[in-house]
């Protein structure tokens, strides 16, 4: 039997090791935020936010088309993905006590962890090759493949938190089951539903890999649904790999905007939901 003092020492040692793990893991987050702010903030100006990319050698120009493209993608993807995800989640929560639902739930979870580049490849073959050109629609389809399972899961989880008495009260009043779900259960689960959906949208706003082979990227503003389009993550990727400092600097500026959008949604949503829930 080892001495008590030694065991006590080991206990302390592992406490500090665990604390160390936390510090080591959070250091990159601090560094990323710091670098993005320090290198990106000097780029910010009205011109940077509204102008298309400049020519090589000049620091004029901006990421206007990329911001516009990301907003268009977010809107289109939400339009396709959110209704499908919510409907799918309704089944899993309200009718989901059977083998079929268990299986669908598993596929849903598997799709959540899917490599996004594989989704890009698929949509490239199915959509881009068959319509013959890169398109914002193809990008939105690829992103909604990523959005649907996340929204479905979050819908299921929020609906399950609604007490059964709410459903029973509505059914007892003679309301149909489908009306009960849509006008009573869904509104009661609003808080969790909105939070989860916004977090999912924030996640797809930063996706890059599926966009490479669906919207491609563009120097200009939106040119219609049959033309390639720019997006912030694509702009960051392209700018970072160019050997020109002024473009790399623009990449950091674009990263700052993207991180403001993504973390803004994240922090905002969490803040509001703890306020309302707490």
């Amino acid at each position: 039997m080892k001495s008590y003092a030694f065991r006590k020492f080991k206990d302390k040692l592992f406490f500090f090791l665990s604390l160390g793990c936390v510090l080591v893991a959070l250091a990159p987050l601090a560094s990323i935020l710091l670098e993005v702010i320090v290198r990106g903030a000097p780029q910010l100006s009205i011109q940077f936010l509204t102008q298309p990319a400049g020519v090589i050698g000049s620091s004029a120009g901006g990421v206007g088309p990329a911001i516009e493209g990301t907003l268009i993608l977010i809107a289109l993807t939400s339009l396709i993905g959110i209704p499908l995800g919510i409907m799918s989640g309704i089944y899993l929560a309200e009718y989901g006590n059977n083998k079929y639902a268990t299986l669908m739930r598993m596929f849903n979870n598997v799709l959540t962890e899917f490599p996004s580049i594989v989704v890009g490849l698929t949509v490239f073959i199915v959509v881009v090759l068959s319509i013959g050109h890169f398109s914002p629609i193809a990008g939105a389809i690829a992103l909604s493949f990523i959005l649907i399972p996340v929204v479905a899961r979050t819908t299921e989880e929020s609906l399950k938190l609604v007490p059964n008495s709410v459903r029973e009260a509505s059914l007892a009043l003679g309301v149909n089951r489908w009306r009960t779900i849509l006008s009573v259960v869904l509104p009661s689960a609003k808080g969790g539903l909105v939070t989860g959906t916004l977090l999912a949208v924030a996640r797809i706003a930063g996706e890059t890999a599926p966009l490479i082979m669906t919207v491609l990227g563009n120097q200009n503003f939106f040119q219609g649904f049959s033309q390639p389009m720019d997006a912030l993550p694509l702009r960051i990727w392209r700018d970072a790999l160019l050997p020109y400092p002024e473009f790399q600097a623009q990449g950091w500026g674009a990263a700052l905007i993207l991180i403001l959008i993504v973390l803004g949604i994240n922090i905002g949503v969490r803040w509001v939901s703890t306020r309302l829930g707490g």
């Binding site: 206990d11 090791l17 665990s18 604390l19 793990c21 936390v22 080591v24 893991a25 959070l26 990159p28 987050l29 560094s31 990323i32 993005v36 995800g85 409907m87 799918s88 089944y91 079929y100 669908m104 598993m106 596929f107 979870n109 598997v110 962890e113 899917f114 490599p115 996004s116 580049i117 594989v118 490849l121 698929t122 073959i125 199915v126 649907i148 399972p149 479905a152 149909n176 089951r177 489908w178 706003a205 930063g206 996706e207 890059t208 890999a209 490479i212 491609l216 993550p233 960051i236 990727w237 970072a240 790399q248 990449g251 990263a255 993207l258 991180i259 993504v262 973390l263 922090i267 969490r270």
Partner: protein, 314 residues
């Protein structure tokens, strides 16, 4: 009344069909990638998976996916070696040790770490982490241990090691949050029993809590592995992107390529009518199969453990 019933049925069937969206997407993906890569699979057969050459020149084309498969496996293994101990440390700290005032903000920051887009990890890896790793880790290791093959080569920062470190950072939120759930699911009676026979906190964690949650923790690790394998942008930006036999990850300080980075880099330059496009799709298929089998495994392990929680604790 009858009309009501049928409206209910229509709604139920509608949502039941939509609940299959994930399955339908998976089926479309599988079918598309399989049929898209068929020309290459027919032409090269098994050698597509075991070959190391990648030559798209017409008439002399030969495609082998082995180096990129190895690249994916090696970078993911490095990510696990670094990421798993850190994630378990975080999970243990948050569940077993930290007071509430520390636990809440730390879990919050770990969640934020998961929300940072992958391309920003790549940007940071390319311009910040890379130089840091070269100066403080790669150069000392290669100077003093350069005679060991895995540490050979000139540290440049765009290599297997940097890719592994970036992946480790990216999978920490996944592994630590699932482990946290698993550790939380260990019944308190187990802890109380162990404390009552005089175990210290660390002994309780190591001998009881961790061993009770073993299979769930294993599932968490597998889930992290699945994420590392599919990750694209951050790796693409720091791995050096070599092609062909040069991409075989023989040393930590050497450029390589993963399956996903190969596709992200080369796909757009592929000549449409050639065999090169099917070759990239074939690599995508391989990536799909690998990720699918890992995620199904993780899914089964984690859900089994957290289901026990639902029945036994609550």
């Amino acid at each position: 009344m009858n009309q009501n019933k049928s409206a209910d049925n229509v709604f139920k069937i509608l949502v039941a069909v939509l609940a299959a969206s994930a399955l339908i997407i998976l089926l479309i993906t599988g079918y598309t990638l399989l049929s898209g890569s068929l020309p290459v699979l027919e032409r090269f057969g098994l050698s597509f998976f075991t070959g190391t050459q990648w030559n798209p020149v017409e008439g002399r084309e030969v495609f082998g996916a082995l180096p990129y498969l190895l690249g994916t496996l090696v970078t993911s293994a490095i990510a696990l070696l670094i990421g798993v101990p850190l994630s378990l440390g975080i999970a243990i700290f948050l569940v077993e040790m930290a007071p509430r005032a520390v636990r809440v903000p730390v879990s919050y920051f770990v969640d934020i770490l998961a929300a940072v887009p992958s391309v920003i990890y790549g940007l940071w890896g390319l311009f910040v982490l890379r130089y840091w790793l070269v100066d403080y880790i790669e150069t000392p290791l290669s100077t003093y241990l350069g005679w060991i093959p895995v540490f050979s080569g000139t540290p440049y920062g765009l290599d297997v090691f940097t890719a592994g470190v970036i992946l480790a950072i990216m999978i920490i939120p996944t592994i630590s949050s699932v482990s946290r759930e698993v550790i939380k699911a260990v019944p308190n009676s187990i802890r109380e029993g162990a404390y009552s026979i005089g175990a210290t906190r660390w002994e309780v964690i190591r001998n009881w809590v961790l061993s009770y949650g073993k299979s769930g923790l294993f599932g968490a690790v597998i889930l992290g592995l699945g994420r590392a394998i599919g990750e694209t942008m951050a790796v693409t930006m720091v791995i050096g992107n070599t092609v062909g036999p040069a991409a075989i990850p023989t040393s930590l300080f050497k450029g390589s390529q993963t399956m996903s980075s190969l596709i992200a880099n080369g796909f757009l330059e592929a000549t449409p009518a050639s065999l090169e496009l099917p070759a990239y799709i074939g690599v995508g298929l391989l990536l799909l199969l690998l990720s699918l089998s890992i995620n199904v495994l993780a899914e089964i392990m984690v859900s089994r453990v957290l289901k026990v929680k639902g029945g036994a604790v609550e």
